[in-house]
């Protein structure tokens, strides 16, 4: 597995301290982008929280997911959550080590006592003492929150005092970015009131069910104001694979005012879904991959967009126009860039794969944030994409009308195009039927076909 190492350097550990104004939560930052460019310790917010207890529990939930592996539960080092200041809200994001669960806590302006935030994205330090301190917040005493270094604090020390070096697997990065693109296809499927939400989430198992037979998809469908489990993906059903992965939501259950469930149109196969708990002034969203054993990284929903360079230039243009907006309006971007709305959307998908935009389901809109990793690299090195490039480069593809043959090793695969959908005779297609993105053969055909049209059908 390709991986690099992420080195994070914090000026000091994040901590809950007492100051003249009462307890103060200082979240330290390391490395990130702001409108002023890259900064070592960006500063996004300093002010009071409206509901400190709930915010603390929300943060703990995000930290839980960052440290968790819901499949093959080992305990290697995990990455810190990422925080984004969008001007009117703070977003804390994390992605589980198994690449299957994405969590985001949006602290909206009401949750920040009406104050504004800075702009940019960075890592925040979460350490064990901080987690304990956050657990201790059981009352709603006023709490001051600071994201980034204190204004007057001059870093007198020669260097950073907290250094974290964490392996950064490519698949983790890819999954983080792809979870956004996957959720952009979701619609609201159910909304539960507080007590129904509590009853439903408490009915879920907290540990993975044992045995092979119990694994696999399970579905819920909205009925009678609640969610009913069902064995079959009836219309309107939402897939709930690995329900034990929603355990992080238990942290904030007491203060939930509603639960919203989002998912794609059910077509019979296991699918990703998103579970959003509405809190006073905040929202906590968990996005689950289609199976505990299946991370977002392999879903391949964006490979078609990446196979060709069509959207790359548009993405470059659109990215210049982004300024950490909390909601990106494709229409206004289209106006500014002179591109059509469709092309802007395609460009946003592409930016999503590079970790440069996230998707907010409640707003049904992308928001700008730049993951503080080299996410672009990960997607470029997608194994299927690399293999497809090799096949295309080797001249393994023979086109024949809407059909094509790809020679790979000593086998030959037949790829057929109908509409814009490719199908193949390989094992990947047999296993997933295109539900985890195209196979390498289909990608290679697509590359060659695009190349052929550009070159006037030379091949």
């Amino acid at each position: 597995m390709t991986r690099s190492v992420q080195a994070l350097a914090y000026a000091r550990p994040s901590a809950l301290a007492s100051s003249q104004v009462g307890p103060s939560l200082g979240l330290e930052t390391a490395g990130g982008l702001t409108p002023r460019g890259a900064e070592a310790h960006p500063r996004f917010f300093a002010g009071f929280l409206s509901d400190p207890r709930i915010a603390a529990r929300g943060l703990l939930a995000v930290a839980d997911v960052a440290a968790a592996r819901y499949y093959q539960r080992t305990l290697p080092a995990s990455l810190d959550p990422v925080v984004t200041g969008n001007g009117d809200r703070l977003r804390f994001e994390s992605f589980s080590g198994c690449c299957g669960v994405y969590a985001r806590l949006d602290v909206l302006q009401e949750g920040l006592d009406g104050q504004e935030t800075g702009h940019g994205t960075t890592n925040v330090d979460v350490n064990a003492p901080l987690r304990e301190a956050l657990s201790r917040i059981t009352a709603d005493d006023p709490l001051h929150l600071r994201v980034g270094p204190e204004e007057l604090a001059v870093t007198t020390l020669d260097g950073p005092v907290v250094e974290k070096k964490v392996p950064l697997p490519d698949r983790w990065l890819r999954g983080f970015a792809e979870a956004q693109v996957a959720s952009a296809r979701f619609d609201l499927r159910a909304e539960l009131t507080a007590d129904r939400a509590v009853a439903f989430l408490r009915s879920l198992p907290r540990t993975p069910s044992s045995g092979n037979a119990a694994r696999g998809a399970r579905w819920v469908v909205a009925s009678g104001g609640s969610l009913r489990p069902t064995t079959r993906p009836v219309p309107g059903a939402v897939c709930l694979p690995g329900p034990e992965r929603l355990v992080a939501l238990q942290r904030v259950l007491r203060d939930a005012t509603a639960l919203r469930v989002y998912g794609p149109v059910a077509d019979g196969a296991a699918a990703a879904s998103a579970w959003e708990v509405v809190l006073p002034g905040m929202r906590l969203t968990l996005t689950l991959s289609p199976d505990s054993a299946r991370g977002f990284s392999g879903e391949g929903g964006v490979l078609d967009a990446l196979a060709t360079e069509d959207a790359a230039a548009d993405a470059e243009l659109v990215s210049v126009l982004l300024a950490w907006e909390p909601r990106i309006e494709p229409a206004s971007l289209a106006e500014q860039s002179g591109l059509s709305v469709e092309r802007v959307r395609a460009a946003l998908t592409r930016l999503g794969t590079a970790g440069r935009v996230g998707y907010d389901l409640a707003d049904a809109a992308y928001f700008h944030r730049e993951l503080p990793y080299d996410a672009d690299r990960a997607e470029r090195h997608n194994p299927r994409l690399v293999a497809a490039r090799r096949l295309a480069g080797e001249g393994a593809v023979t086109l024949d009308g809407s059909r094509a043959t790809v020679a790979s090793g000593d086998r030959r695969y037949h790829v057929r195009e109908s509409g814009s959908v490719f199908s193949c005779t390989c094992q990947w297609w047999a296993d997933y039927r295109g539900r985890r993105g195209p196979c390498k053969h289909a990608l290679a055909v697509r590359m060659v076909r695009r190349g052929a049209t550009v070159a006037g059908g030379a091949r």
Partner: protein, 931 residues
């Protein structure tokens, strides 16, 4: 140098250290290059060969490294780590000439690597001893240390207590505290049997703390921190055990108030319970401020555990009794318990509120309490009204109850067979390959509806059609697309053609293999003979699989001969049913082309044809007769016959068997516990159908015999063999359901929703099947049964009372557990099907209430019934026999309370005036049909 390599290659690891030591620096360096090459080479060897030289390679490489980092990485390499006796003494020997500082460096680097066990711990210990440096305290090293300590107990003849071992261990004082820092505890530490056992780690550690070897206050601090942070529950229990043994002092308890509140709010149940006890002690000493108590109570009362909630209410009651002026602050927290699911908790909370409400001064608090009390159920309405007045008046406008059921499923037409070779090959390849890689079948593929029977039938029909028109192209493409699939390379295996072991994809494999000329004539004849199941092996699964196999063998023979243009039995709809008119058309084409239908294909088509009632039936029969062929006449006669494929008999179990029937064991051995149904014989099947179908036409006596077959998730052809006879299929597959409920077999209920969707008549067998499904051991099976229940209800085919009676019988035979049924029926009710569920329960409960000893879970069942009755009213439902007696019993158990709650819903109705029960009953049945 070559001598070293030779020794390594020969696996003589004992010779390695002197050979290494004989080398100088450049010599070792060049040897290392070769050893690295060898290590790469070895990775490709088979394990026996690899195993032989692994140790020598490890020792030689370690000795030849000149840098400590490289050496540590080499020793820690996973591919070299697989040995039974520790090679580390040899490594130490080969490092004899290194200076101590270098060895110390090696120890530190090696201790940081993953996967350290007892042997590595000893190795690191030796290195540090020689180098005279302190032991590097890392998580991995501590894990290795715990393993050594664990093993040390067994080293001497008498078993030594853990405390003694730790006391003798010079490193315990350094290493043990690290346990409290590790993200997860080593398995050795978690693994202990009883708290009083001499191997109990928490006990041993607290003993060390008493000795002063470990810092007691540090341990207390760490335990509290870890319990607050949360984590694996075994770890939590460990820290709790240590904490309980160390016994926090009064000062420690006082200074950590916020920690205890956090634990009580969020910890796992035993941790929360401990924290709660500390809070009680703090309160007794007057050290628990009211504000903190109110905060923590809100959180604790939100928890599910009844024990914790009750204890917290007791604590609150005590505080309130002592000082009622705290009511303003505490009662809003008490009101949190109104949302708890247990009635007695609600009642206790309400009593507290009622008693101390007069002490509340602020009108805001009163209002807050009133609105919280408004969410309480009808049971408490009287008390609430007495307390707060008629505030719930406005929202409680009498609403007309409306049952909400999922939409009845509609029939979907099956897509026609793929028309081009490319499409067909793709489909066939996907189906064959999806199951060809037996290692792991993605859940998405198994549950996929299109992967069900209709997809299989499409592909089968496509093969028949295209083999006739484009045979060359088809075989060429198939051969290319299926390259590498096992049966294409090596021929079919006997298990793929055995009715005991097949799934639909095997069916396709048979046809493809024949088409590609991979089946010899001899094999074909022998294998086709196996499709006829007889004797002791002849269970329903094998019979239904045999039908499928017979069809595919016939299809492959027909392809061979180029005989038929298409298959007759290809379904029209997703259930597998074939339209009568469509079948007549197909037969007409056969007649026009002068083709004789295949006997198995035609027999399956007959089983699948829809026998609609009404004029269509006569029309279809007439049209079939008009064909003037033998098959036309048989079809006409088949359609006209009234019977199901195999008529189902009623089971005789009605009377209550317990306790008169003897003990559980006696009833099991005598077969008195089995509730199964028999099917009658159908002569026409035995006379006119091919032999593989004869099992279906024979009389089948009920027998619960275990057999081994794929479950319904891979056998969608079972329901599609008889798409119009859910009763018959339910009867035949009933033993599976019995096992699912009685023995906890998984996955057997999966076919019930498909049966419930079927067009055929629904009767006693389906209701019995449903009753078994609702009591299945595994939740996903019960979910399937709930799906089936709702589908039947939505189609107006459910007889709730009959289902209730069957459930009572199954409970009586100890086949179904009450709590499982309560869970399933509760799920069904919560979707809005309260009326349906109440009808079932009203018929089920009298049998259960009659027992002298209350069955486990009856309270839950009554609670579901009461919930339903409160939602939909009890109009039209007969009073439940025995309910009043149960409700009138002494005590305050869940059963008695819920019985009273249910009884109350009937009471209201009687006051409204008792209309004749007859007319009420009719109204219900009418309702049921309309919904």
């Amino acid at each position: 140098m070559n001598e070293l390599l030779t020794a390594v290659r020969a696996g003589r690891h004992h010779d390695v250290p002197p050979l290494v030591l004989a080398l100088d620096r450049p010599g070792r360096r060049s040897a290392l290059t070769e050893l690295k090459e060898l290590r790469k080479e070895v990775r490709g060897w088979d394990w026996q060969r690899r195993d032989r030289i692994r140790k020598a390679l490890l020792v030689a490489g370690a000795g030849c490294h000149t840098g400590a980092a490289g050496c540590a990485a080499w020793i820690g390499g996973r591919d070299l780590r697989d040995w039974t006796r520790s090679p580390y003494p040899l490594i130490l020997a080969s490092l004899k000439d290194r200076d101590p500082a270098w060895l110390g460096d090696l120890a530190h680097r090696f201790a940081g690597r993953a996967a350290l066990s007892e042997a590595e711990y000893t190795f690191v210990g030796e290195l540090t001893r020689i180098a005279r440096v302190p032991l590097p305290v890392t998580d991995n090293l501590v894990t290795g240390w715990t393993e050594l300590v664990g093993a040390a107990r067994w080293r001497r003849r008498t078993r030594r207590p853990l405390t003694e071992i730790l006391r003798d261990d010079p490193h315990a004082a350094v290493l043990a505290p690290r346990l409290f820092e590790m993200a997860e505890l080593p398995p050795q530490v978690d693994f202990y049997d009883a708290p009083d056992s001499q191997d109990h780690w928490p006990g041993a550690l607290s003993a060390l703390a008493e000795d002063g070897v470990l810092d007691r206050s540090y341990l207390v601090e760490r335990c509290v921190a870890r319990l607050m942070r949360g984590g694996k529950s075994v770890d939590q229990r460990f820290f709790l055990a240590v904490l309980q043994r160390l016994e926090a002092t009064e000062d420690e308890e006082k200074s950590r108030l916020r920690d205890w509140t956090a634990m009580a709010a969020d910890g796992i149940a035993p941790v929360a319970s401990h924290a709660q006890q500390v809070l009680v002690r703090l309160d007794a000493r007057g050290e628990l401020p009211v504000r903190e108590l109110a905060d923590v109570s809100g959180a604790v009362l939100f928890r599910q555990e009844k024990k914790l909630v009750r204890a917290q209410l007791t604590l609150l009651g005590k505080v309130l009794r002592r000082d009622s002026s705290t009511a303003g602050e505490l009662l809003p927290a008490v009101a949190e318990a109104f949302g708890h699911e247990a009635i007695d908790v609600q009642e206790r909370a309400l009593k507290l509120v009622a008693r101390y409400l007069p002490a509340v001064v602020g009108p805001d608090v009163r209002e807050q309490l009133a609105s919280a009390a408004a969410q309480l159920g009808p049971m408490h309405r009287e008390t609430v009204t007495a307390l707060f007045g008629e505030l719930a008046e406005g929202e409680e406008a009498p609403q007309v109850y409306e049952e909400s059921l999922p939409p009845a499923p509609v029939l979907r037409r099956q897509d026609p067979a793929p028309e081009t070779v490319a499409e067909l090959v793709e489909e066939v390849a996907a189906r064959v390959k999806a199951h060809a890689s037996e290692h792991w079948i993605p859940a998405s593929a198994v549950l996929d509806t299109s992967a069900g029977i209709t997809g299989f039938e499409r592909a089968l029909d496509g093969l028949v059609r295209l083999a006739r028109s484009d045979r060359e192209e088809l075989t060429g493409s198939l051969r290319e697309a299926l390259a590498g699939v096992r049966f294409v390379e090596h021929g079919l295996s006997p298990y793929m053609v055995d009715p005991r072991g097949i799934s639909t994809s095997h069916g396709l494999s048979v046809v493809v293999a024949s088409l590609l000329g991979l089946v010899s004539e001899r094999d074909r004849v022998a294998w086709r003979a196996k499709t006829v199941v007889t004797g002791a092996d002849a269970c329903a699964h094998a019979a239904l699989n045999g039908v499928l196999l017979d069809r595919v063998w016939e299809a492959s023979e027909a392809i061979e001969a180029g005989r038929v243009p298409f298959l007759l039995a290809t379904p029209t709809w997703h259930t597998g049913a074939v339209g009568a008119a469509e079948l007549v058309e197909r037969l007409r084409t056969y007649r026009d082309l002068d083709v004789r239908p295949g006997p198995a294909d035609f027999a399956q088509a007959l089983l699948r044809v829809r026998r609609d009632s009404g004029p269509e039936r006569a029309e279809a029969a007439a049209a079939a007769e008009a064909l003037g062929t033998g098959e036309g006449d048989r079809l006409a006669a088949w359609i006209r016959a009234e019977d199901a494929v195999a008529p189902v008999l009623r089971h005789p179990a009605t009377t209550v068997s317990r306790p008169s029937g003897g003990t559980w064991w006696q009833r099991t051995t005598s077969g008195a516990r089995q509730v199964l149904v028999a099917t009658r014989e159908r002569l026409v099947v035995q006379r006119d159908f091919p032999e593989a179908f004869h099992w279906l036409g024979r009389a089948q006596l009920p027998r619960a015999q275990e057999c081994y077959h794929w479950g319904p998730e891979r056998s969608s052809h079972w329901t599609a063999t008889l798409p119009g006879d859910p009763e018959t299929l339910a009867a035949w597959l009933m033993p599976d359901l019995l096992f699912a409920a009685d023995q906890g077999q998984r996955g057997a209920v999966g076919f019930l929703p498909a049966l419930a969707e079927s067009a055929g008549e629904i009767g006693g067998a389906m209701h019995l099947a449903l009753a078994y499904g609702l009591g299945a051991r595994h939740p996903e099976d019960r979910t399937a049964a709930v799906d089936a229940l709702l589908v039947l209800a939505a189609r107006g085919r459910l007889d709730g009372a009959a289902l209730g009676r069957e459930l009572a019988i199954l409970v009586d035979r100890d086949l179904v557990k009450v709590n499982r049924t309560a869970d399933a029926l509760g799920t069904a009710a919560a979707t809005g099907a309260y009326r349906t569920v109440l009808t079932v329960l009203a018929a089920m409960l009298p049998g259960l209430l009659a027992y002298e000893k209350t069955p486990r879970g009856l309270g839950d069942l009554l609670s579901v019934a009461a919930e339903c009755a409160e939602r939909c009213g009890t109009g039209g439902i007969e009073p439940i026999a025995g309910l009043a007696a149960t409700a009138g019993r002494k005590g305050s158990s869940q059963t008695v309370r819920q019985a009273a709650r249910l009884l109350a819903t009937f009471g209201e109705r009687e006051e409204q005036g008792t209309a004749g029960p007859e007319s009420d009953r009719k109204a219900t049945i009418g309702d049921q049909i309309n919904t």
